[in-house]
Amino acid sequence: MELTTNIPNLESMSECSIKPYDSIYLGMPYCWEYEGNLISGGDDLISAVEVLHSMGKKAYITTFAVPRNRDLDRVFRTVDVAAEICDGIEASNLGVIRYITKEYPDVSVIAGGLTNVYTASTAELLYSIGVSRIVPSYELSIEDIEKIKETGVEVEVVVHGKVPVGIGHECFLRKFSSAVGKDCPKICREEMFFRSEDLVLKPFGHATLSGKDVCMYEHIDKLRFADAFRIEAVTERIGYRERVGRIYRDLLERGFSRSDFEELRSISENGFANGYYFNRAGQIYIPG
């Protein structure tokens, strides 16, 4: 089982935070302007890949999730570099996916969770054009994901972290620049949450994430058919990636630990959810 996570910039890339993982997705897919974003150009991306390879880790490179025409030149530049140096490219835009599979047929292409792969038939089509791995839509149940896996494509599922509940044309944090006294890119250095009764959301760049952490620690055996487990940590504070990664590495190698589970609880500022794995509202948590 491959354990993966995501890292937005070099600053977040300590050796400790990488150690528990087999592979790392590099770059922040929700915002170009994020400070030090590895997919926004510059030599940092090459350095990051070199660091990962020197540690024996796989380096995947992500791409901006909702590219308009004006973004394509930057996407092409990222893909051109990525194709030379990395072990796979993640994209969530169908056009970009098709571009990579055509222009770089030897590169592994991962359809990200925002690609909206809901059905085995869509997975089958993407697999037939060269997509090697799919992160199914976050809205799918375990049974639906199993059907996607049956098509032969590799499947990666989020086992822990905040998942996107939507993505749009604007960054909601920027709406509050004057109230906060900070502007882009400093405003996302600290966390913003939207709260309404039982619901909590975390706006971040063009995406809005679940405020709760999806946690499948207690249910991990139900997902063992997948090829990779992802810890979503691209918007998280320092320490989160390392602690959560270490706990899931131990789970895979040594089995369930009550104290580790309690530690996960203490890390999560808004509690747990199971996402949509059990065909329920995404924000509900069903204990194991």
């Binding site: 025409n69 835009n93 169908l94 970009v96 098709r98 939507g166 749009g168 109230a179 966390e191 949509y276």
Partner: protein
């Protein structure tokens, strides 16, 4: 051209959608199957529709149904750029609907044969159409799969930054009218009952619309 929702397949609930028999008894319409279901099932259903033109929201169905129908790629597929257009063109689609947020960029869209459909009147929502899972997250009702939106966006949200409440906000869909040029102009009215009211959200206790 009027787009008519097929019961069981339409994204904005079944309340205003028509049965297959009703759809097949009408003239000069396109049939909307923009709820995400298994692509092979969608193609089978398309075969039962006597009209030439359908609107679809699932990649396999878009590709396969294009062999025998005129297929418009639903706005739910979130066509964002020329690469998307070229992919849909490669799959044989007839047209693609562009999200209203991209209306000022329609002139920059280039395709060889694919027609561009833009909104002349549309609700601009919290997220791109087809990219919102908030309803499923909050209530388990999926817009994309069940065709039901519980309009959680219209709640009043308290905004916290670094643990401190700084504001309140809501993301109620906003009806906008555009002066836009494209091959087709779409006027979104299906989900409107009264002006500014989306039918599925009208009864939501959090909705003030």
């Amino acid at each position: 051209m009027k787009f008519v929702g097929l019961k069981g397949y339409s994204r904005y609930s079944d309340r205003k959608a028509l049965t297959l028999d009703e759809v097949n008894s009408l003239e000069n319409i396109a049939v909307v199957l923009n709820r995400v279901r298994d692509g092979k099932e969608l193609v089978k259903t398309c075969r039962k529709i006597r009209h030439e033109h359908v609107i679809l929201n699932e990649l396999y169905a878009i590709s396969d149904a294009s062999k025998f129908k005129k297929v418009t790629v639903s706005v739910g597929m979130s066509t964002m750029n020329n690469l998307d257009l070229w992919f849909y063109e490669e799959l044989g689609a007839h047209a693609a609907v562009i999200p209203p947020e991209l209306n000022d960029e329609v002139g920059g869209f280039e395709s060889r044969s694919l027609k561009i459909e833009a909104f002349g009147r549309a609700f601009v929502e919290m997220f791109y159409k087809g990219r919102c899972q908030l309803s499923a997250y909050a209530s388990g009702k999926s817009v994309k799969r069940d065709g039901i939106c519980s309009m959680e966006c219209a709640r009043t949200w308290e905004v916290f930054y670094s643990g401190r409440k700084i504001a309140e906000v809501n993301f109620r869909p906003e009806l906008k009218v555009y002066d836009v040029e494209a091959d087709y102009i779409k006027h979104e009215i299906r989900q409107i009952e009264g002006e500014g009211v989306i039918e599925d959200g009208a009864d939501n206790k959090h909705s003030k619309s």
